[in-house]
Symmetry: C2
Subunit: 203 residues, 2 copies
C-alpha cells in the first residue's frame, strides 16, 4: 500500500513554484501518492507574526537574496524563471479553482500552469481572466469551473485548508506533510518523499 | 587554480553544526578551498530586526520545527545529536579562538569539536573551561591559545568579520560566500561548492 505526502502550497509563494513543478514526478519515482493542498499564507503569517505580509517584502535583504536564490535554483532544476513585476500576487481565484479540482486528474497540470504563468511568464494570476485562459489551454470548461470555484462550499474548503495549516503548525510554503511530520521548503521535498516511502515499507 | 568558498558560521547556530561537520570533506571532494569565517549572529539579527534574538526563540513554532528538522537531518547525515539544555549558547570565547586559528591546520578540527560538544554532548561551550578542555583534547597549548584569543587584535577581528557579514547582506548562519554570491543554509552548501568549482573551471 502506497504512502501519502500532502503538499501544502500557495500560488504566491516563489519556492512553491519549484516544488509544484518537481513534486509529481518525484513522488511517482518514490512510489508515494502526492496530494495537493492549496492554502493561503496571509492568515498563516498573521497568526504567526500579527502581520499578513511575506518576510520577503518586510525584510528587503531577505527578498533580494530570495530572488537570486530562485534564479539559481530554477537554473539548476531546468525551470524557466522571470522575476514577476508584482510580488506577491493575489492567489485567491487560483487557490479556489485548485480546491475545486482536488482529486481530479487535471489538478497537477493546472497548478503547474498557474506557477509557470506567474514565475516564468510574468502574467497576473490574480486576474480571473488569466486563470480562465489557463483552464482553457488545458481544454477544460473554464467558465463552469470558475463559476463552481466561487461557490460557498469551495470558499469554505480553502478556509478549512488554511485553518488546518495553522492548526498543524505550518509557517511557510511549500510544506510537505507526512503523517505527523512537517517538511518545510522545496529543499525538504526529497526528504519528505523518502520519509513517506519508508513509512510505507514499515507497515 | 582552486576556487575558494568562505563559510560564515556561528557556534550558537544549529544548522552551522551540520555545515561545519560536512564542509571540509565536501569541499575537498569538490576541489574547492574552504575558508572558515567565525562571526556573531546577535549583531546581524539586531541590524536586521532591531532585536538580537534568534527567530527560533522569538517564534516558538519555528523553534519546535527546527529541533525536529535537526534530528532528522543529523540522522540523515550520520551525525550525533542531542538537543542542548540551553539555547542559544554564548559563543564569544569559542568564536575568538576560531578567529585566532584562522589559516591554521587545527582550526577545522577545533570548530567541529566545539559543535560536537554543544549539539551532540550538551556541554556548555560558553564556559571557557569547556573550550580549554576541547583545545587540550586536540593536544594544543590551551592556555596560550585562550590568552592570545582574548587580546584586542583578535576581538577586533571577530568584530570585523561580523561587520563584514552585515555589509555583504548575510542574515543567517551558516552562509557560504563565493565571490559576490551568498548561499544561505547548510542545505545550500553543495550548491555553493559546485558554484565555486565551476567558477574555477571558467578561469
Amino acid at each position: 500500500m502506497s504512502s501519502t505526502a500532502t503538499m501544502f502550497f500557495e500560488f504566491a509563494s516563489t519556492y512553491s513554484y519549484i516544488a509544484a513543478m518537481r513534486a509529481p514526478s518525484a513522488a511517482a519515482e518514490a512510489g508515494v501518492t502526492l496530494r495537493h493542498r492549496p492554502f493561503l499564507l496571509g492568515p498563516v503569517f498573521a497568526a504567526l507574526n500579527g502581520v499578513a505580509s511575506s518576510p520577503f517584502t518586510t525584510q528587503p535583504l531577505r527578498g533580494r537574496y530570495m530572488w537570486r536564490d530562485m534564479e539559481r535554483l530554477c537554473e539548476k532544476h531546468g525551470l524557466a524563471f522571470r522575476k514577476p513585476s508584482t510580488f506577491p500576487r493575489g492567489s485567491l481565484v487560483a487557490a479556489r479553482v485548485a480546491c475545486l479540482g482536488e482529486g481530479d486528474a487535471w489538478l497537477p497540470s493546472f497548478v503547474q500552469s498557474v506557477y509557470v504563468a506567474s514565475f516564468a511568464e510574468d502574467r497576473d494570476i490574480a486576474d480571473a481572466g488569466v486563470v480562465k485562459e489557463l483552464l482553457e489551454s488545458l481544454r477544460l470548461d473554464a467558465s463552469a469551473i470558475l463559476e463552481a470555484a466561487s461557490t460557498q462550499p469551495v470558499k469554505d474548503r480553502l478556509r478549512a485548508h488554511t485553518d488546518e495549516a495553522i492548526r498543524i503548525g505550518i509557517f511557510g510554503a511549500p510544506t510537505f506533510v507526512v503523517g505527523e511530520e512537517l517538511f518545510w521548503g522545496q529543499d525538504r521535498m526529497d526528504d519528505a518523499l523518502a520519509f513517506a516511502a519508508r513509512s510505507s515499507d514499515a507497515r
